[in-house]
Each structure stands twice: as structure tokens, then as C-alpha cells.
Amino acid sequence: MKEMSRIVKTVTNFVYGFIIIFGLYIIAHGHLTPGGGFQGGAVAGSAFALLLVSYGSLNSNKFLKKDIFSLFENFGLVLFIVLGFSGLGITFFYNFLANSGSWFGNAAFIGINPGDMNTGGVIPLMNIAVGLEVLSAFGVIVLTMASGAEFTKKKEKS
């Protein structure tokens, strides 16, 4: 796909950082406000789709590398499985950090409260792992399909 006009590229340069920051905010506050790993990963992945559409698939291969995305995807999935196996002293997927006083281990107020960032046990760590995996997976899907569209279309007669 060819690159688009200068107006589209200027707006993209201005706006894509804010979209990625908003996605990371949704991932980090997943246990207090609406959001979580899936939603934040999807929002940040749409920023990569915006970059790819506006700059064209040939130019954007210089700053979006498929191998780095694939590496982060594997890292997220392995981190999620390790966090699931860590509570195996009692059951699989046991929340061993909640109400323990260490990382993310404050006891939550019961009932309606303004929210404390330091609660939730193992849930924020799992949010980060799943968010990393979903973000990288959407990046790999969009990059691969954009380079495959150049491959499967009919050659123009020159």
C-alpha cells in the first residue's frame, strides 16, 4: 500500500503517542476503573494500525520490526503461565499476593471507596502480561497482512 498525503502523516505524528499512552493507562488501572489487559492492548494495537496505514507498508518496515513484536508476544504468554503456576501450593490460579502486605497486597476497603492503586494481588501483574501479549499479537497480525497484500495482488502492467 502506498503512503498517504502529507496532512494524514502530520496528524498521525501528532496523535499516535497519545493513543499508546492511553492504552497503557487502561492496562495499568485495570483493577479500579473500566478496562483491563484486553482493552488496553486493543487500543494500543490500533495505534500501530494507524501508523501502518498512513506511512505505507514499505516505509513502515524501517521502524516497526516484526521480530521484536514476536519476541514480546512470547514473553507475555510465558509470563502469564508462570504467574498462573506460582500459586500451585494451594490451587492453580490462586491469588497468593492478595491481603498479604507485599506487592499490590493492601487489604481493600469493603463497599464503595475512591480506589487504591496498591490492591489486587496478582491481578495487575496478569493485566500487564495479557496486555503485552495482545498488543504484540495485533501488531504481528497487521504487519503480516499488510506485507501479504502486496504479495497476493495482481501485478500492474508496466
Partner: protein
């Protein structure tokens, strides 16, 4: 007060049905996909009206953004 919310609810459902009907009827592929994206965005508003903000964020990001990009790559690859 509640009747106002119900009017918004009913009009969202009716517009969603019209948009998905247009997505099936159109002959050319690009207008059809734009109608599908509009239907998905209205479905996200419907989820918010049913008190499910988590699902509304996910549907707005995935259904209206990434599905559109993937379908456009597929059309560019098959012409």
C-alpha cells in the same frame, strides 16, 4: 427521565439494524465494510447503555478499528 433513556435505546437498536441491513445489501465491497463498521460502533453504544463499560471499550477498539483495517488490507490484496 427514564423515557428519554428508552427513546435513545430504541433509536440505537433501529439504526443498528438498518446499518447491518445495508452491509448485506450493498454490491461493492468498500461501502459494505463502512456500513459494517458503523453497525459495530452503534453496538458499542448499545453495550454502554446496558451498563457494560468493559465490553463497550473492547468493542469500540476492536470492532470499529482493527476489523476495518484488516478488511481493507484484504480488499487491497484481492483486486
Amino acid at each position: 427521565m427514564s423515557s428519554f433513556v428508552e427513546i435513545i435505546h430504541i433509536s440505537t437498536l433501529v439504526m443498528m439494524i438498518i446499518a447491518s441491513f445495508l452491509a448485506v445489501v450493498f454490491r461493492k465491497l468498500l461501502p459494505s465494510i463502512i456500513a459494517l463498521s458503523v453497525a459495530s460502533l452503534l453496538l458499542s453504544l448499545e453495550f454502554y447503555l446496558l451498563h457494560a463499560p468493559d465490553v463497550a471499550i473492547a468493542e469500540a477498539a476492536i470492532g470499529a478499528g482493527l476489523t476495518m483495517a484488516i478488511f481493507i488490507f484484504a480488499i487491497r490484496g484481492t483486486r
